[in-house]
Symmetry: C2
DNA sequence: CTTATTGCAAAAGTTTTGCACTATA
DNA sequence: TATAGTGCAAAACTTTTGCAATAAG
């Protein structure tokens, strides 16, 4: 856990970047919070520890870390980019079921994509870092509910 | 091809939406351009045919068509949402490879998800209508390019 | 010391919204 | 004619950038 921080610290040094307290604070937040955080989320969390940081610095740090492939920038299509430390192996098997009726989000685990990834890496010469899989449909409750009672969905 | 327009026209009517010239013009553009178009792109193209349309109407039409699942809203992470007509047949086996370095989008076909869908429908009691699958990683060129030559991010 | 990095505020860019007007069913 | 839909302009957001001040190596 702390190894990871040391490792990244070294990587930054090797690449000639300075180790500022702001960068370190941001990294710690990312290491402590493995969910997908928006820049705003990260800004708030970092602010607790380093109240003087500006959001521009957070964005610049995240961009740098993306370039170095230390974090992965994700997009769920809600107009906000989200970030997470790269390397989360478990995260890879975690997919979404989105109900088109009520918008509810379920999650499920499956490693079936491993095969497809291997196939792509071999066939397409494309190095995969992450993936996002969502299924859209109707959850149990909505499936069985009469149409008139249905809430208007807000798709993606 | 024109069938498709008639079909969608009917679908709108059935759902109680009005068939305005603006909506029709937007639909035609979407049917003629199967690439992933941004709202701005669509606005420009529609403007050629119906110069008085406003971009707000384009956004509202696209949102409506998304809800009706006539178009897919896609996000490649460059800050602009893109739209494409849903094609119920091939679309289902059509996935995306997004390069995190240069933003390039490749597509590939695979029907491996059929199995997963069956599994989910059985296990989760969730009725699947559609899915979206994107892989994020590095394309051949970016993978092999030395760091120093890399285009300054614009990462995903 | 030198130069990368920062914070602030302003700018940029996309998408949404309020409102009075218009046109479809 | 009733009401859904539209255009315009302003607002709301997220993200980027210019610049003078600061701090890391």
């Amino acid at each position: 856990m702390n190894n990871k921080l040391t490792e990244i610290r070294k990587q930054l040094q090797v690449d000639g970047y300075k180790l500022t307290p702001q960068r370190e604070a941001t990294l710690k937040i990312l290491l402590e919070n493995h969910e997908h955080l928006s820049a705003e989320d990260i800004y708030m969390l970092v602010k607790d520890k380093a109240p003087d940081i500006g959001i521009a610095t957070v964005y610049r740090t995240l961009e740098l870390l993306s370039e170095l492939r230390i974090v992965h920038k994700l997009n769920f299509g809600d107009g906000v980019a989200r970030y997470e430390i790269t390397d989360n192996k478990e995260e890879h098997h975690h997919h979404h079921l989105v109900c088109l009726e009520c918008g509810k989000l379920e999650e499920f685990e499956d490693d079936l994509l491993e095969d497809m990834e291997k196939k792509i890496q071999a066939t397409k010469n494309f190095q995969i870092v992450d993936h996002r899989l969502s299924f859209f449909g109707y959850c149990q409750e909505c499936k069985d509910r009469p149409r008139s009672d249905r809430p208007k969905a807000k798709i993606e």
